[in-house]
Symmetry: C2
Subunit: 624 residues, 2 copies
């Protein structure tokens, strides 16, 4: 068995309750590595085209990688993969924390869940053993309660738990999988799939560390990271969390405000990372073996919004979507909405963005108090935002409509409300505006699982490329507002790299190439140290390309085409105010970039991988 | 200036006799690196489409690279680039020895020669200085005499000299550039171009070693090579020269015999590397800083063929083409023919193969003694072969016809003689038969400068891939006689790597991935050590792809299309005898593989780089 792996992939058939171990050879692990590629592999193999994402035919994969649980920082991450009930395309989401490393120590590389249990169950993995246990007593309970009960009944406080929350049980389309009551595989509705299978939770605990080929090298690489952290660009993110970027986004005119009407938010300072540090921050948390400690733990003990530190604290995306998107500058309200999402298990981006859309529609008169049950769903109304978040989690009242996400809600409401949706493939845009980093606009349009800000390196809004981009053959920076062939190349190359990061499950803050801690060549060093394989950056990029093509091929099988790769209308309306005043992105620009992107990717002009591209990547077995 | 380079590219305008230095920035060197890519760059920039390859408009580039002259073994190589008078396509050829390192020490990274001198001149580079000197007294003289005269007049025995020989002056289409009277940029007629410019020689001498970023790492890598050499697969090549492979080729049925009638040669043992070691070998020679010492020095002091050690000794290709191709098992005769080629400056492959073709045509009656002036040009007639080699060098009698190469000679003779030609783009096939390594057949067909055996890794005829091929993402070996998508991928990926090797000018025996000394990841280590750049295998492969696309784009500009990428008819006729008895390669197989290859390469189905592929590689400036 290759170093770094157990060679044990747990197959869970919930139709029959059978657990088996799939043992794969070294060639399989070298080809599919782990994470997203491994998840896509099992999804493509097990789930037929046009399967109901909430039916027994869907496959949910929770996958680690070779690096998970090793001493390398940024490695404790897990990918969730399934057909998405939110987008109808492939679903794919990553999380950090301590669960992934603990799952590795429990003795497994991945869990592949098929079928549907008759009654709620949870999965218990410990030291190479696996069992399904009844979970009827956990059904309907919030994440904190479920944590307490499972730890109690397993008699071990150090058990790590991944679970779907009550929101997922209710079928909220953007429900995530929650670990540690504070981390989430948030996007694409992976929690919703988990709940649809009656799988309430996965609990893990163990001491089975896989063998590492060159432990000394792995530790030296970790030490390099710790040593260089204080002078690295990511140091600020350690101090103030991901929210550190909020002030820069505002200054850049890149902080999407009032449902993407503007790129600047007057109330930015109230919800900024530094403000959070100075006010409600209780402590800094981290992922297994990471020196960055970007994770926030906040506490509010008085006022209308009491926030418990066990739910962590808001990330930048959460502050932006519940805050700026909604025109809300009330940090406590945002932190409270974040807590609801952690407690009930929802993606904060889609939740906040859907409410922002509803506010926009309300301001336009497309939604009225008759719809909302009397709630004045206006920009800036923090109480309404919090109330709506709870109602979505429970699918109560108008929350039942919004629980479908903005695209489906707009379809229901119809008329001009549809033009206000800011989503791709029905998934709401995260809080990085592509106006001054146009490659991101292209990636939003083409990404297989809907708009995503962590599937490529954003092209720099200011100045030059960092020197380390040359390691990927990127040496020719372009102005912020162009989207030419060089920008498309930038998008595609960095997409391959990020695709690999989501396959080897390495944190993009720690290993992403530009303003972060390590350089791309360190990824090679890390994988070499753990596996002993002489991997090269070529092999790495080709694995990333393979994973991207697997996702794209899955979508093509489902009938997705070029038509689905488009930005929402709102982005062609100019931003108002600030540095990006008057800046918009035209559909023609994206269509032109798609021509180039598809050609460079080796796909048809309809965005579908050609048989020869699939063959090149060893994916000739996928039938589109 | 980047480490490893001088940053000085000498521009020689022979129309005016002006010498200028082109200073390029670091980005230029990182993008084009050196060798073949750098040569193609200046050729594409300077020479307009459809220029006469023997006219003043052609550009001849002699280029080194970052690694040249460093302590890394296999680095003392030089690329010659120009439009080829032999193929009409791009010309590209590499040589080793001591000239390349010495040219680096003379203070230059490359020489770009344009125009044509009124009278013969030679170029003298020393310690960063350059001058043109008269060479009328050298014109018409053989390589050994020219060496003696130049060294004498420069007063330094350690001057290194590259020159075109009398054959080039006479316009033999496959005349090479000779260094040390024993090494050659043999193929594609680069010597013919040099002579057409009235540039007789380039003499170099100096002590300007460029700075190396991490000398310790470079020396450690060299030491690793020396340490591992004795147990490496290349050890035998050190003992018996490249001719070591001759016996294996015969056993495999891969030793092209009697103008590619058969893959086995009864007389193989007489011309084998071990036989040479035991009989005429005087000593083993080497290239600068290389431990392999594969270069032969032979001596014959009696009999009809007196061979002087100053002309080195025959390589495998020479033994195969003058030997097996011609059905000749007379080692002395072959060594003598090799000496003529070194003395007059001709490519041994095309010379031997053209004579073999003529013998085949003679046996068929298409050529008669009326053509040859009475010579019985039959297979096995060693004396006729030697005589014809001399006549070609001097363009005397029937030699004047054969000096045009087999394709042009066949056109002239017409009839069935054309079907006997074994060439692609008019360049004769080297002595590696693709019958049991089909990816090579494809590469023969598509290679921009005609059939070449050093533009990709040959797929293994026996057994599995060496483990190190996984470093290039190649893990799925296929049977010898298939040419499916996986084989095409193998051809393309290894073509990128070899394309890089010919750009960074590293020896393929030392750094080629499969049965040789170092592994691909060592190439990364070597370039990093010298430059200090954190190059990755991705960057390396993309440089290789860039160079391949530059060559391909040059050809497209000249009007080359898919039609020019085809194997000669003879290869579709089955071999007779031995392990490959009955084995042939059908045109359909190659056409099918081209469809796949072009698609994988990002080219049109006519084999032309698309604008987006050029843009991806930063070559949008090339107009096709």
């Amino acid at each position: 068995m290759p170093k770094g792996y157990h060679g044990k992939i747990l197959l869970v058939d919930l139709n029959t309750g059978t657990l088996t171990v799939d043992e794969r050879d070294e060639a399989f692990y070298r080809k599919y590595v782990g994470g997203s590629a491994l998840g896509a592999y099992y999804l493509l193999k097990n789930t037929p085209p046009h399967a109901d994402p909430l039916g027994a035919e869907n496959t949910l994969v929770l996958s680690l990688s070779v690096i998970t649980g090793s001493p390398v920082p940024g490695q404790s991450r897990m990918t969730a993969t399934a057909k998405s009930p939110f987008t109808g395309a492939i679903g794919d989401s990553q999380s950090g924390g301590f669960f992934p490393a603990e799952m590795k120590f429990a003795g497994f590389d991945a869990i592949v869940v098929t079928g549907k249990a008759e009654k709620p169950v949870y999965l218990w993995l410990h030291d190479g053993e696996a069992e399904l246990r009844p979970a009827e007593h956990l059904w309907g309970k919030t994440t904190d309660t479920v944590e307490d009960i499972i730890k109690e009944e397993l008699g071990d406080k150090r058990v790590q738990i991944a679970q779907c929350g009550p929101a997922a049980e209710k079928g909220v389309r953007f429900a995530g999988i929650i670990t540690m009551t504070s981390r989430a595989n948030g996007r694409t509705g992976m929690g919703t799939v988990m709940a649809s299978k009656n799988l309430k939770a996965v609990a893990v605990r163990g001491r089975k560390r896989p063998e590492i080929a060159d432990k000394k090298a792995a530790i030296a690489l970790a030490k390099w990271g710790s040593d260089h952290f204080p002078e690295s660009d990511i140091y600020g993110m350690g101090l103030h969390g991901t929210a550190e970027v909020l002030r820069y986004q505002h200054k850049l005119g890149g902080l999407a405000t009032k449902n993407w009407m503007s790129g600047v938010f007057d109330g930015w300072e109230a919800i900024d990372g530094e403000t959070m540090t100075e006010t409600i921050l209780k402590e800094r948390d981290t992922c297994f073996a990471c020196p960055v400690r970007c994770k926030r733990v906040v506490e509010i003990t008085e006022g209308p919004y009491i926030v418990d530190p066990k739910f962590g604290g808001p990330e930048y995306e959460t502050l932006a979507t519940f805050g700026a998107y909604c025109g809300i500058d009330d940090l406590a309200a945002v932190a409270y909405a974040n807590q609801i999402c952690a407690q009930y298990g929802m993606d904060t981006i889609s939740c906040g963005a859907t409410i922002a859309w509803a506010m926009d529609a309300f301001e336009h008169g497309y939604i009225t108090t008759a719809d909302t049950g009397g709630i004045e769903l206006r920009f800036g109304n923090a109480a309404a935002m919090v109330q709506m978040t709870e109602m979505i989690a429970k699918r109560e009242g108008f929350g039942d409509v919004l629980a479908e996400g903005s695209a489906r809600a707009a379809e229901k409401i119809g008329g001009g409300a549809e033009d206000l949706v800011v989503a791709v493939k029905k998934q709401e845009l995260p809080a990085h505006t592509p106006h001054l980093k146009r490659s991101l606009g292209l990636i939003y349009a083409v990404n297989p699982f809907g708009a995503d800000h962590q599937s490529s390196e954003h092209d720099p809004s200011y100045g030059n490329y960092p020197e380390k981009m040359a390691e990927l053959g990127l040496t020719d920076p372009q102005p912020p507002t162009v989207l030419n062939a060089e920008k498309v190349k930038y998008a595609l190359y960095t997409e391959y790299l990020y695709s690999y990061l989501d396959t080897v499950n390495l944190c993009q803050f720690v290993f992403g190439p530009s303003w972060h801690l390590y350089s791309p060549h360190h990824i090679v060093d890390a994988v070499r140290a753990v596996t002993g394989w002489n991997v090269t950056m070529w092999e790495i990029m080709k694995v990333g390309e393979r994973r991207l093509n697997m996702l794209r091929a899955f979508n093509a099988r489902e009938g997705f085409t070029r038509e689905d790769d488009k930005l929402p209308k709102k982005l062609s309306q100019a931003f108002v105010g600030g540095r990006t005043d008057g800046v918009a992105i035209s559909p023609e620009e994206i269509e032109n970039a798609k021509d180039i992107y598809y050609a460079m990717a080796g796909w048809t002009n309809d965005g579908i991988p050609t048989p020869w591209k699939l063959a090149e990547l060893g994916l000739e077995w996928i039938e589109i």
